[in-house]
C-alpha cells in the first residue's frame, strides 16, 4: 500500500489549476457551482441563481437543471455534452438530524438513454459544499485518465494525471485517502469518488463514495448504484474525484435557526435510542431487517422473480446476517446519523477472484444486495452473497442490476434459451455459486460472457432473440427491466399499487419512488383505484424531496414515533414529516409547510418527466412493464400459487374447474393487464397528466415550471 501511495504522489502532474476563495455558506447554500470541462481543462465558478433555489431547490433538482442546459435531444450518454452533476442540497451536511449527508448524482444513463438520478451516502457531497460548492458539474471528456482534486482548505481545484496501480475501488479509495491525508486523524477529512474496472466494461457501472471509518481504521464505500453513473464517469476518463475539507463544525451549514434543527434532532434521536431495538433494528442489521419479512410474506424475489419465498430463505435471514455484522459500532455514513445502518462484515476472507485469500471489510450486504445476489439467483449461501457484494462494489458494478440480470440469464439457461456454448462454458443454473462468481469476475474484467451480461437485461433480450432465436415475447415477459433499467428486488405481482410504483417511476423500476406493497397487498389500505392513485401521487413526491435536500429516506419511516399508530395517516409518519418541515425551515429560514414540501418535489418530478420526453421517451408506452411484474408468466408459476390465482379468477365469475392452467393463465393475464392500464389512467389524471402521460400545460403553470423550453417540449405531444 505504501509503495502504491508513494507512486501516486510522486507521479502527480497538474494539467489544469483553479484557485478560489471558498464562498461562505448562507442558510445551506454557497451560491456557487464548480464547473469542470474535461475536454479543454477549463475550471470555473458559476453562480447559483435564485430560480434554481426556488424551483429546483438543490441535489437532484440542480442536477436536472444543469443537465437540461448541457444536452439536447440527440445527446447520447457517451457524448462529451453529457454531464455528471453531483450535489447535496441545502439541508445536506447538518449533523443534528440523522441521514443528512447524501449526495445526488445526475447524468444521462447508458441503460435508459435518459436521465438517471442516484442518491448516495459517504462524505463527498457535504465536504464539496463546505469547500464552497453547491454542486460539481463535470462536462466534456478527457483523452487520458485524470483525477479532479478539490481542496476546500486551500481553495484550489486541479485536474491531474498520476499513476494508480489498481482499478479496484476499495484500493483506489484507500490509496487516495492515504495520499491526501496529512495524518491518521486527517483521514476523516478526505472523501473519494471512484469507478472501477466494471465501469469500463459494463453499462451498469457505479460510483463509490467514500468515508473514513475511524473505529475500524478503514475507508468505507457507499454506492451511487443505479443506471450506470460509473460507466459515464469512466467514459469521461475520470479515474477519481477527491475532496478534502477539515473544518466541519456543528453550524457549518450556517442555518437560519439552529435551535429548531436541534429540537427536531433531539426528538428523533430519542426515538431511535428507545425504539429501534423493538422496531426495525436498523442499528443492528440495517436494511437486511427486511429479509426474513419478505420471505415470510411471499415478497422475496426467487429465481428471477418467479416466486416470493423459498424453503431455504431462512439460510439468508435477517438473523443470519445480524450474526455476520459487527455489532455495537457506529455505522453511520455521515456524522450524527444515529440510525447507523451501514453495517459491515469485518475480516471476511475472500475465496475467489483477484483478492482471493485476503481479509477485507465488506460494506453490507443490504437487503437489495442479499435479495438480488442471493434468492433471486437461487443463492442461499450468506458467504457467497457477501463475496459477491464485495466484488460488485470493488469492480464498481450495480448489485441490484447484477442480481436481476444474472437471474434473467439463469432462467434463460435453465429453459435452454442459452447454453454452455453461448456462456463460454459457465453452467449458469440457479444456485450455481461457482458460475455465478465467475460471471461477476468476467464482468469486472470485461471478458467472455461477462461482456454480454454487462449490457443489461434490455440488450440481452435483443441479443438472445436476434442471435439465438429466442422467443422475443417470452423474453419480454420474463426480462425484469422497464425503460432499460433492471428492477429492484421486490415481488410486485400481488400489489397493483407497487406495479405502478415500479412502472411509473421516472428513471425506471427503482423502489425509491414508491414502496406500497404492504399498504396495498397486506394491509388492504388502498382498496380503490383512486386510493392507489393518491398513494402513487403522494409517496413519489414525498420521497423525491429527500433527493432535493441531501437527505436519506430511512430515518423517515424505518423508525417511527411510539404514538404514530394513533395518527390519522400512520403510513406518512406525520411527526417526521413535521421534522422535515422544521429542519428545512431551520436551515433556509423559509416558512414552508407540509403541502409546500410536496409542491417542491412536484415541480422537480414533473420537470424530470418532461426531460424524459425531451430525450425521446416518457409517454405511456414507456411506462409499460414486463408481465412478470404483474402476474405469473409460466404454468409452474401459476401452479405454485394456484389457490391464490384460482380464487381471484372465481371472483371474476370464471369456472376454474373447467379450465386448463393455460386457459387460467390467459384469463388472469387479461385481467391483470387491464387493471394495470386502468391504474395508469387514474394515476395520470391525479398527477395532472394526459392519457398519454404528458404533463398538461395547466399542470406546468400551476407548478411554475412553464418555462418556454419546457412548454415547447410538451406542446409537441399534446
Amino acid at each position: 500500500m505504501e509503495s502504491a501511495v508513494n507512486r501516486f504522489k510522486q507521479s502527480r502532474k497538474v494539467l489544469a489549476e483553479y484557485t478560489y476563495e471558498p464562498a461562505a455558506l448562507v442558510r445551506g447554500y454557497t451560491g456557487k457551482t464548480l464547473f469542470v470541462d474535461l475536454s479543454t481543462g477549463l475550471i470555473k465558478s458559476k453562480e447559483v441563481t435564485r430560480t434554481m433555489k426556488d424551483i429546483f431547490i438543490g441535489g437532484r433538482g440542480f442536477g436536472l437543471w444543469y443537465l437540461w442546459q448541457a444536452v439536447n435531444p440527440q445527446t447520447k450518454w457517451n457524448d462529451p455534452e453529457n454531464e455528471i452533476i453531483i450535489s447535496s442540497g441545502p439541508v445536506g451536511g447538518i449533523t443534528q438530524y440523522p441521514g443528512a449527508g447524501k449526495s445526488l448524482v445526475v447524468t444521462l444513463s447508458p441503460l435508459t438513454n435518459s436521465v438517471i438520478d442516484s442518491n448516495v451516502g459517504g462524505h463527498f457531497g457535504p465536504y464539496l459544499k463546505f469547500s464552497g460548492w453547491d454542486a460539481l458539474e463535470i462536462y466534456g471528456k478527457s483523452d487520458k485518465d485524470v483525477f479532479i482534486i478539490i481542496d476546500g482548505d486551500s481553495g484550489k481545484v486541479t485536474i491531474e494525471e498520476a499513476v494508480l496501480d489498481t482499478t479496484a475501488c476499495h484500493l483506489i479509495s484507500e490509496i487516495l485517502t492515504e495520499a491526501f491525508a496529512h495524518s491518521e486523524s486527517d483521514k476523516k477529512n478526505i472523501s473519494v469518488v471512484s469507478a472501477g474496472s466494471g465501469a469500463d466494461h459494463t453499462l451498469i457501472g457505479i460510483l463509490n463514495f467514500s468515508f473514513y471509518d475511524p473505529h475500524r481504521k478503514v475507508v468505507r464505500l457507499k454506492q451511487a448504484g443505479r443506471g450506470g453513473t460509473g460507466t459515464v464517469f469512466r467514459d469521461k476518463k475520470l479515474r477519481a474525484l477527491v475532496v478534502r475539507f477539515s473544518g466541519l463544525k456543528a453550524k457549518s451549514n450556517n442555518p437560519a435557526d439552529f435551535e429548531r434543527i436541534v429540537a427536531a434532532g433531539k426528538r428523533i434521536n430519542r426515538e431511535i435510542r428507545e425504539l429501534d431495538d423493538v422496531q426495525n433494528r436498523m442499528r443492528q442489521v440495517g436494511t437486511a431487517s427486511l429479509l426474513t419479512v419478505m420471505n415470510d410474506y411471499d415478497l422475496l424475489p426467487v429465481h428471477n422473480f418467479q416466486y416470493g419465498s423459498h424453503v431455504d430463505g431462512p439460510k439468508i435471514s435477517t438473523e443470519v446476517f445480524r450474526s455476520r455484522f459487527t455489532q455495537n459500532v457506529f455505522d453511520g455514513c455521515w456524522h450524527g446519523c444515529t440510525l447507523s445502518c451501514c453495517k459491515a462484515v469485518d475480516g471476511f476472507e475472500l475465496k475467489t477472484g483477484p483478492f482471493k485469500g485476503e481479509k477485507v471489510v465488506v460494506d453490507g450486504p443490504e437487503y437489495e444486495n442479499a435479495a438480488g445476489l442471493g434468492s433471486n439467483c437461487g443463492i442461499f449461501d450468506p458467504d457467497c452473497i457477501i463475496e459477491a457484494n464485495f466484488y460488485c462494489d470493488t469492480y464498481g458494478i450495480d448489485t441490484i442490476s447484477t442480481g436481476t440480470l444474472v437471474a434473467f440469464i439463469m432462467e434463460c439457461y435453465e429453459r435452454g434459451i442459452i447454453n454452455k456454448e453461448i456462456t463460454g462454458g459457465l453452467e449458469l443454473n440457479f444456485g450455481n455459486k461457482e458460475a455465478f462468481m465467475e460471471l461477476i469476475h468476467q464482468m469486472g474484467r470485461g471478458e467472455g460472457f461477462g461482456k454480454i451480461a454487462g449490457l443489461g437485461v434490455r440488450r440481452m433480450k435483443k441479443i438472445f432473440s436476434e442471435q439465438y432465436g429466442a422467443d422475443s415475447n417470452f423474453l419480454q415477459d420474463i426480462g425484469m427491466e422497464a425503460k432499460g433499467l433492471e428492477y429492484s428486488q421486490y415481488l410486485s405481482k400481488e400489489s397493483l399499487a407497487q406495479q405502478g410504483g415500479y412502472g411509473l417511476a421516472n428513471k425506471g423500476p427503482q423502489h425509491d419512488e414508491a414502496w406500497l406493497i404492504f399498504m396495498d397487498m397486506v394491509n388492504k389500505q388502498l382498496p380503490t383505484f383512486e386510493d392507489k392513485a393518491e398513494a402513487l401521487h403522494y409517496f413519489p413526491m414525498f420521497r423525491t424531496w429527500f433527493g432535493l435536500q441531501g437527505l436519506c429516506k430511512l430515518p423517515w419511516n424505518d423508525i417511527e414515533p411510539e404514538d404514530n399508530k394513533q395518527t390519522d395517516e400512520p403510513a406518512k409518519v406525520p411527526a417526521h414529516v413535521q421534522n422535515y418541515v422544521d429542519i428545512y425551515n431551520g436551515v433556509t429560514g423559509q416558512n414552508i409547510d407540509k403541502d409546500e414540501l410536496i409542491l417542491q418535489s412536484e415541480r422537480v418530478y414533473n420537470f424530470q418527466r418532461v426531460f424524459n420526453l425531451r430525450m425521446g421517451f416518457g409517454t405511456r408506452k414507456d411506462d409499460a412493464v414486463p408481465y412478470r411484474s404483474l402476474g405469473p408468466v409460466t404454468v409452474e408459476e401459476y401452479e405454485s400459487r394456484a389457490e391464490r390465482y384460482d380464487s381471484q379468477l372465481k371472483e371474476l365469475g370464471l369456472n376454474v374447474e373447467e379450465m386448463s392452467t393455460g386457459e387460467k393463465l390467459k384469463a388472469l393475464r387479461k385481467h391483470r393487464e387491464e387493471m394495470y392500464e386502468k391504474l395508469v389512467d387514474v394515476v395520470y389524471q391525479r398527477r395532472g397528466w394526459t392519457k398519454n402521460g404528458i404533463p398538461r400545460l395547466e399542470t406546468l403553470r400551476r407548478l411554475g415550471i412553464d418555462f418556454p423550453e419546457v412548454v415547447a417540449v410538451v406542446e409537441k405531444h399534446l
Binding site: V278, D296, Y297, Y490, W515, F518, N523, E560, P570
Partner: protein, 65 residues
C-alpha cells in the same frame, strides 16, 4: 369464519389474536391489531379472544424499501 385484512380464515374454538396472526404468518414486528374496531395491545395478543365472525385489522407499520 373470521375476516382479517380482507381474507377469510376458518374460526377455531378459543382462537386468540396470536393464533390468528400465526395462521396468517404475520411475522412483522410492528403490527397494530384491531378486533371489531377495538385496538389490542401486543401484550394481550396471547389471550385476547377473536370471536366467530370477527373483523380483524392487522396494520403493518412498514413503508420500507
Amino acid at each position: 369464519m373470521v375476516e382479517i385484512n380482507g381474507h377469510l380464515v376458518k374460526w377455531e374454538e378459543g382462537m386468540t389474536v396470536k393464533r390468528l396472526l400465526e395462521i396468517m404468518n404475520y411475522t412483522f414486528p410492528m403490527i397494530i391489531v384491531r378486533v371489531n374496531g377495538e385496538a389490542v395491545n401486543k401484550e394481550e395478543w396471547d389471550t385476547y379472544p377473536v370471536p366467530r365472525g370477527a373483523k380483524v385489522q392487522a396494520l403493518h407499520q412498514i413503508a420500507g424499501g
